[in-house]
C-alpha cells in the first residue's frame, strides 16, 4: 500500500504554489510541463521555461498594479497562457478567480462585481466582448488582457491589452525592479487564499469559495501518496477551468506532482487529442463517460452483423469476469481468463485505444452519481475507473476508492486526514485539512455551513458502509417522502432513467404526493439516430420529442426502471406512474441546469408548474409556452401541446419482469 511508503521530508516541501513552480524548475527543469497542440503539432513548454514565463508575467501584472489579495479573473477554455496567468497572479499574492467560459455576460457581471475584479485575463474576442459588455456596470474593471488577438484589431484600445504587450511590460518592470517578484513570493503564507471558485449554486446566487495554498496542496499530496503519482503522468486538460475538479487535476495536482498537462487544440478536437496523448491519469464527470459510451454504442449499431455479434459476446464476458480480473480476484477460472485475454486482443484493447484510454492508469469520476451499468462498462474493459467524493468547499478529495476495492454504489473510504460522521438526519459531516477558508464577503453563509462543534455540512445524505466506504444516496434536502411515508430519492430515480442512452436528463417529482411523475429530456443524438434508422422524419428537438413512436421508446425505458425499483422494498413505492417528454432541452442558459449540468429541481418545478400539475392530475395532454434564451442573449418562444403518458407500475417485491 502506498501509505506504508516513507513520507518525504515534509519540511523541505514548498508550501505555496509559487514555491512549487520554483521547485519544479529547479528539480525537473528540462521535463515537459505543458503541451499545447498548435497548428497541428504538439508544442512543449518545460518547467524551466514555465517558471521563466510566469516570472515575466508576474512582473507584467505588477506593472498593472495588481496587489496581494486582489482578485484576477481568468476566463477561457484550457489554454496554457491562462494557467500561466493564474500562477503569475499567485506569485504576487493575488487570487485568481476562474470563471465559466460559456457563461453569458450577465452571469459574469455578478462575479466581477462581487470579487471586485480589476484585471481580467481572457482567451479571445468572445470573452472580450462579454467583459466589455459587463464593464459598463463594473467601474473597477480597468484591464482586460487577451490571449488571441483575432478579430480584435479594430477594437478601441481603452481597457484592452494584448498578452504579448503584457509580457513586454513585464520585461520592462523586471528590468526596473529585478527582485520585486521574489519579495512578493516570500511574503505569501501557506494559509493565505490561493484561489477562489464560485460555486454554481443549485440555489441562490453563486458564492465565492476561498481556498488556501495549504488546503489545496495538502489534498494533492494526499492523493499523490495514495495513487503513487509521479512526474511521468500525462493529463489532458479539457473540462472548464472554473470547475474545481478541473483545477485540481490540471493545476493543483500538476503543480504539486510536477507531471505534464496537455491542452487540446480546440474543444471540438478533444477526442482526437486524447487519442494522440494517451493520458495516464484521467478525470471525467459521468456525463462525459456517458457521451463516450453513447457514441460507441451508436457506432456499434452501424457496424456489420458479425462485428456486432462479436462485440456483444465479448461485452457479455467482460460484464461477467472483467471487473473481477481488474480487481485481481483470484477466483476467476483459467478458461475465463484465456477468453478475456482473447477478448482484450479483439475488442477491449481496440476499444480502449479508440477512447484514448490505452495508457490510463487511474481514472476518476465525480461530480454526480454514476449509473452502475455505465461504471461497470468502463471497468469491465480494463479501465481502472474509480469514484471519488468531494466538493469545491473541501478541495475535492474527501473520499477516493482504493484499487481493488471498487464498488459501483459507494465512493470509497475517507482520504488520509479526513474524518467523517453521519448526523441524525442522515447528513454527512466532515473535518478535513482541505476545507475552505470561507465564502468571500459572506460570513453568515460560512457560519451556516459548519455545525456548532466545527464539522462541515456537506448537504449530502448517506452512510458509512460496513467496510468503511461512504455511500451517498442523494442531496440531504432532496430526499423526501411520498404521501404514504415511503422513501423518495429523486436523484436515484433520475440516474436510473439517465442511464438509458435515449434519455439525456430526467426530473422526478413525488415529495408529499401519492405517486411519482417525471419529466424526460431525450438525447437528440441517440434518438435522432434511432429515428433515422426507422425512417421517421423530424424537424428538430421539439418535433422529435412529441412523436408517439418516441413516447413508446421512452415508455419502455421507464417501465424497465419501474421493474427494477419494484425489486427494492424501500423504493418500490417510487415507481413512475406518468411521464412527459419536455418540448425543449433543459439548458444552463435558461437557469434550468447549473453550469456543471446539474438539474435545478425546485426551479424547474416552479417554471413548469403547469406541467407538474397536469402530470399529477392525470390529464392526457397539456399546452405550454416557454421562453428560451439564445447564446447571444436574445430570447425567443417555444410552444407545444405535450402528451402525457402513463407507465406500467409493478407490484411490490416481485422479481424483475421479463
Amino acid at each position: 500500500m502506498a501509505r506504508d511508503l516513507p513520507t518525504q521530508s515534509i519540511s523541505t516541501q514548498p508550501e505555496t504554489f509559487p514555491a512549487w513552480v520554483q521547485h519544479h524548475a529547479r528539480v525537473r527543469g528540462a521535463r515537459p510541463a505543458m503541451r499545447e497542440k498548435d497548428l497541428g503539432i504538439w508544442q512543449t513548454i518545460t518547467w524551466a521555461e514555465l517558471a521563466r514565463d510566469v516570472r515575466v508575467l508576474a512582473h507584467g501584472l505588477a506593472a498593472l498594479g495588481v496587489q496581494p489579495g486582489e482578485h484576477v479573473a481568468i476566463v477561457g477554455e484550457n489554454r496554457p497562457r491562462l494557467y500561466l496567468s493564474m500562477m503569475a497572479a499567485q506569485s504576487l499574492g493575488a487570487i485568481p478567480v476562474p470563471l465559466y467560459q460559456d457563461a453569458v455576460a450577465q452571469e459574469m457581471l455578478y462575479v466581477l462585481q462581487d470579487a471586485q475584479v480589476r484585471v481580467a485575463v481572457v482567451e479571445d474576442q468572445e470573452q472580450v466582448d462579454k467583459m466589455l459588455e459587463a464593464s459598463a456596470h463594473c467601474p473597477d474593471l480597468a484591464y482586460v488582457v487577451y490571449d488571441d488577438p483575432r478579430g480584435l484589431r479594430n477594437y478601441p484600445p481603452g481597457k484592452l491589452l494584448a498578452f504579448d504587450a503584457l509580457m513586454d511590460q513585464g520585461r520592462e518592470h523586471a528590468a526596473a525592479h529585478p527582485d520585486f517578484v521574489d519579495r512578493a513570493m516570500a511574503a505569501i503564507g501557506p494559509h493565505d487564499a490561493a484561489a477562489m471558485f464560485y460555486t454554481s449554486g443549485t440555489t441562490g446566487k453563486p458564492k465565492g469559495v476561498m481556498l488556501t495554498h495549504h488546503a489545496l496542496i495538502d489534498r494533492a499530496l494526499a492523493i499523490q501518496e495514495l495513487e503513487n503519482l509521479t512526474d511521468r503522468e500525462d493529463v489532458l486538460a479539457y473540462l472548464p477551468p472554473a470547475w474545481i475538479g478541473q483545477n485540481m487535476f490540471s493545476y493543483t495536482q500538476f503543480l504539486v506532482t510536477g507531471f505534464t498537462v496537455n491542452h487540446p487544440e480546440s474543444p471540438n478536437t478533444v477526442a482526437i487529442d486524447m487519442h494522440d496523448i494517451g493520458p495516464t491519469y484521467y478525470f471525467a464527470p459521468p456525463r462525459v463517460l456517458e457521451g463516450l459510451l453513447t457514441q460507441v454504442m451508436i457506432r456499434m449499431e452501424d457496424a456489420s452483423a458479425i462485428k456486432r455479434k462479436l462485440f456483444h459476446a465479448c461485452m457479455k464476458l467482460a460484464r461477467r469476469v472483467g471487473v473481477r480480473i481488474l480487481d485481481k480476484d483470484g477466483t476467476v477460472g483459467l478458461w475465463d481468463r484465456i477468453k478475456y485475454r482473447v477478448g482484450d486482443l479483439l475488442i477491449y484493447g481496440p476499444l480502449r485505444n479508440a477512447l484514448g484510454m490505452s495508457r490510463v492508469r487511474i481514472a476518476y469520476t465525480a461530480g454526480e452519481a454514476i449509473g452502475p451499468d455505465l461504471f461497470i462498462f468502463y471497468r469491465s474493459i480494463g479501465i481502472n475507473l474509480k469514484q471519488l467524493y468531494g466538493s469545491t468547499e473541501t478541495s475535492v478529495f474527501v473520499c477516493v476508492q482504493s484499487d481493488g476495492q471498487v464498488r459501483a454504489d459507494t465512493v470509497g473510504p475517507p482520504v488520509k486526514g479526513v474524518e467523517i460522521r453521519v448526523a441524525e438526519n442522515g447528513e454527512i459531516q466532515i473535518k478535513s485539512p482541505g476545507l475552505f477558508k470561507g465564502y468571500y464577503r459572506n460570513p453568515e453563509a460560512t457560519a451556516e455551513s459548519y455545525t456548532a462543534d466545527g464539522w462541515y455540512h456537506t448537504g449530502d445524505a448517506g452512510y458509512l458502509d460496513t467496510d468503511g466506504q461512504l455511500k451517498i444516496i442523494d442531496r440531504a434536502k432532496d430526499v423526501g417522502k411520498l404521501a404514504d411515508g415511503s422513501l423518495f430519492a429523486p436523484k436515484y430515480i433520475e440516474n436510473k432513467l439517465k442511464f438509458f442512452q435515449h434519455i439525456k436528463e430526467a426530473v422526478a417529482f413525488g415529495a408529499g404526493r401519492d405517486e411519482v411523475c417525471a419529466f424526460i429530456n431525450i438525447d437528440l443524438e441517440a434518438v435522432g439516430n434511432w429515428a433515422e434508422r426507422r425512417g421517421l422524419p423530424y424537424a428538430g428537438y421539439t418535433d422529435l420529442a412529441g412523436k408517439p413512436e418516441v413516447y413508446e421508446l421512452i415508455r419502455d425505458c421507464v417501465e424497465q426502471v419501474n421493474a427494477d425499483l419494484a425489486t427494492d422494498p424501500r423504493l418500490a413505492g417510487s415507481q413512475i406512474a406518468r411521464f412527459l417528454i419536455l418540448h425543449k432541452e433543459l439548458d444552463p442558459d435558461d437557469d434550468e441546469l447549473t453550469r456543471t449540468r446539474k438539474v435545478r429541481r425546485a426551479f424547474i418545478a416552479q417554471k413548469y408548474g403547469v406541467l407538474v400539475d397536469a402530470l399529477f392530475e392525470g390529464k392526457s395532454s397539456q399546452y405550454i409556452e416557454t421562453e428560451v434564451k439564445f447564446e447571444d442573449g436574445r430570447t425567443g418562444k417555444i410552444a407545444a401541446d405535450l402528451p402525457i403518458a402513463t407507465a406500467k407500475v409493478y407490484p411490490r417485491n416481485t422479481k424483475k419482469a421479463a
Partner: protein, 264 residues
C-alpha cells in the same frame, strides 16, 4: 469599427468597363461598368438569371466578353484567362462545390498552394531536402488557415463525409491558401441554415479584416449581403440597375421592383 474601414479601403484595384457578354443570341451581360476598391467587400446581387455568375466568370477569365475592358491593378486586358487571373492573385470559390471529395480537408487546402510550389515533380517525389522544406512551409500556411476557419477537428477527414456547411468552409480555405489579393465568392451561403450563414459571414469579415483581402461576392440572400458589404452592384437581366452603399441600394426603386415585382 465602421469609421476605421473608411480609412482602410484603398484605390480601385479592379475596374470593369462596358462589359458585354453574349452566348449566341442570348445576351448575358449588357454594357456593365463597375469598380472594386482594394480591401473592400463588394457584393453583386440580382434575381436568378441576372448574370451574376457570368460576371464573376468574366472577372476570373473563364468567359471572354465580346466588348469591354478589364483593368486589374492598373494593367488593362481585353481578355483574361483563368491561369493568369490566378497568377495575378484572384482566387474563387464555387457555388456548386468543386472539392476533391475523397481527399482529406488538409490535402484539399494544400492543393490551393499549387501555384506557389517551386520544386519540381521529381524533387517532390524523392523528397529532396529543398522540396521537403518547402512542403513544411506550405503545410504551416495551410495549418494557419485550418486554425483560422476552426476546422481542426476535421483535418484528416475526407471532405465527402463532412456536412455541407463545413465543405463550404473548406472551399473557402482552399481559395485562401492561394494568398489571394482578391477573393471571388460565388454564393458562399447558398443552402445554409441561419447559424451556418452567421458563421460564414463572420469568416468573410475576418478574412477581410485579418488578411486585408479584397472580396467580391455574389449572393442571393439580400439580408446577409446588406450586413457585410461595403458597396453593392445590382444586376437584372444582364443590366446594371443599381450601384452603391447597401442603404442606397435598398431604397433604389429599380432594385425594389426587380426583387419584389412591379406591383409593389
Amino acid at each position: 469599427m465602421q469609421d476605421n474601414r473608411e480609412t482602410r479601403i484603398g484605390d480601385v484595384i479592379l475596374d470593369m468597363k462596358n462589359i458585354s457578354l453574349a452566348f449566341g443570341g442570348v445576351k448575358a451581360l449588357t454594357d456593365i461598368s463597375f469598380d472594386v476598391r482594394e480591401h473592400e467587400i463588394r457584393a453583386i446581387i440580382g434575381p436568378n438569371g441576372a448574370g451574376k455568375s457570368s460576371m464573376l466568370n468574366v472577372i476570373n477569365g473563364v468567359y471572354t466578353p465580346q466588348q469591354g475592358e478589364i483593368a486589374l491593378a492598373g494593367v488593362k486586358f481585353s481578355k483574361m484567362n483563368s491561369r493568369r487571373a490566378a497568377e495575378m492573385g484572384i482566387a474563387r470559390t464555387f457555388q456548386n462545390l468543386a472539392l476533391f471529395k475523397g481527399m482529406s480537408v488538409l490535402d484539399n487546402i494544400m492543393t490551393g498552394r499549387n501555384l506557389r510550389m517551386r520544386s519540381g515533380i521529381l524533387a517532390q517525389a524523392f523528397r529532396l531536402g529543398s522540396a521537403e522544406r518547402e512542403e513544411i512551409a506550405h503545410r504551416e500556411f495551410v495549418e494557419n488557415i485550418i486554425d483560422f476557419l476552426e476546422i481542426q477537428a476535421y483535418r484528416k477527414t475526407p471532405v465527402g463525409r463532412l456536412p455541407y456547411g463545413l465543405q463550404k468552409r473548406v472551399d473557402l480555405g482552399r481559395a485562401l491558401a492561394m494568398e489571394p489579393r482578391m477573393l471571388l465568392l460565388d454564393e458562399p451561403m447558398a443552402g445554409m441554415n441561419i447559424e451556418e450563414k452567421q458563421d460564414m459571414s463572420r469568416f468573410i469579415l475576418d478574412v477581410n479584416d485579418e488578411y486585408g483581402t479584397t472580396i467580391v461576392l455574389i449572393e442571393h440572400d439580400m439580408g446577409v449581403v446588406m450586413d457585410i458589404s461595403d458597396r453593392v452592384v445590382v444586376l437584372d437581366y444582364g443590366k446594371k440597375i443599381g450601384d452603391g452603399t447597401p442603404d442606397a441600394v435598398r431604397s433604389n426603386p429599380d432594385v425594389i421592383q426587380a426583387y419584389l415585382g412591379a406591383s409593389h
